[in-house]
């Protein structure tokens, strides 16, 4: 069987409670699931000796700028044993803008989630240290949201006097 089918079959067998759909583009497989199952599925994918997704490459979010399901969280994980890359995606609403943190599964996600919080404003539950990453701590806006202008909001970042 191909690696993709192996993964999908295993998830269906071992975790029957997890609802998910799959998509594929240019040879890359993505699994779209519900945001409450993310820690469950991540620890299964990491601990399973055959799948062994031990390397988390990237954690980020997409802002679709629509009313329902405004954000999508995307996790890129990689298995060094099988040399296979996988994407996990979950939708996050704007009103209920939080999701569980996977930093207990992969420590890489610690800073990447802080960066996502800084740029998009998505709050991560059970994160060890959720602070802003790039912008100063007293900055009030979330820069990568689509309603934030490219040139910034005048007066939001003060300059020293001449």
């Amino acid at each position: 069987m191909e690696r993709k089918e192996i993964i999908i079959q295993k998830i269906k067998d071992k975790l029957p409670g997890v609802q998910f759909t799959t998509a594929e583009f240019r040879g890359e497989l993505s699994i779209i699931l519900n945001k409450k199952d993310i820690v469950n599925l991540s620890s299964f994918l990491k601990d399973d000796p055959d799948l062994a997704f031990n390397f988390c490459e990237d954690v980020t979010a997409i802002d679709w700028a629509r009313r329902n399901q405004r954000f999508t969280m995307v996790y890129h994980i990689f298995s060094m044993k099988n040399k296979f890359r996988l994407k996990l995606k979950c939708d996050v609403e704007e009103e209920d803008c939080n999701i569980d943190s996977v930093s207990s599964v992969w420590k890489t996600a610690d800073w990447e989630e802080r960066e996502t919080y800084d740029m998009y404003g998505i709050h991560f539950n059970n994160h060890p240290d959720l602070r802003r990453m790039y912008m100063p701590e007293e900055f009030e806006y979330y820069p990568l949201r689509k309603d934030f202008p490219l040139m910034g909001i005048p007066g939001s970042l003060p300059l020293p006097k001449k």
């Binding site: 995307v74 890129h76 240290d129 790039y134 820069p143």
Partner: protein, 416 residues
Amino acid sequence: MEKVIKENAHSKILDALLADKDITIEDALENEMILNMGPQHPATHGVLRLLLRLDGETIVSCVPELGYLHRGYEKMAENMSYHEFIPHSDRLDYLAPLSNNVAWVLAVEKLIGIEAPPRAQYIRMLICELSRIASHLIAIGSFAMDVGALTVLLWTLREREKILDIWDILCGARFTTSYTRIGGVANDIQPEAIAKAEWFINQFDDNLTECEYLLNNNRIFIGRLEGVGVVSGEDAIQLGITGPTLRGSGIAYDLRRDMPYLFYNDLDFKVITHDGGDCLARYFVRVDECRESAKMVRQILSKMPKGNILFNSPKKVLPDKVEIYTKMEELIHDFMIVNFGINPPVGEIYNAIENPKGELGFYIVSKGEGHPWKCKIRSPSMVNCQGLPHMIKGCMVSDVVAIVGSIDPVMGEADK
């Protein structure tokens, strides 16, 4: 969430510094000090701020703070076309700019679904390996300077100037070149550039050996670096560290071998690893990688095929300048591509290459328009810096300089 106002803003980073669950000192007379190794420092390789909590001279915990060079790349990428982002990709890892150009262009080509002709791919491999040598030369030189050996920096800068001369002939700029294009490269490699590259490779080995004579058997160098900043292979994978830092801990993970791109399958090269996980192992990995890259450049120069350097796809690839000025079709295509963008299909890709610092990845989401809907840059330096608190704990203040030098972060990439 409570609103963060100016008065309680800075206490958040201090809370992170002072709250360390591993420390169990119950001494009533403990004398601890908070030291700020600020963004402006001769040895922090750019604007990295480290808050250190010291017990005497030993470091108890450390919190790095990034963001002093955050230029807003991801937001800017959402507002400009794919071609316009090529000069911006230069300035990410500014020690090896051609490597970033290749990474961006490979990601966009994967999204569109085209592939550059073989001669362009070989030229891209050549510039990738030369930029690997250039970046490692500065890494070794400034690392040795931080530890105290000042001469090595001047010698490695002299070697690097020769590589910059090659790039000057090739594309007109010493540095921040923007040489690659979607579908190939900007112009064909000139015979003078090839001759100069051959001359450089022939005399590079001896010069590198000269630098090694100063350092490899030096008691002070080895005494300062051995056993300092140890990170085991398992911890490194957990923290997401890639590149020479990971290979210095014994894990043989190299994207050129594991997920091959361009024509690396046809080349014969070894993946260099050293056991030990300390600064000395990372230094040896970098020096040996320079030598491997020199061997690869020799192979590339001997195997370079003939052919054209731009893929033939009028709607996606900018046509040749001579034809734009003389023919009608090419003029129209050039106008459409420059003003409205290349319009890739709806979808998303993630593509990563082996940058000299680690794994540089671009995640592009496209909605079918001329500019990307989202572009995320997975920067190796930021994730490598995440391993700093783990490596620094228990060391002394002067070891911090050596450890930061051995990780070799580049803040333009880490802060995006």
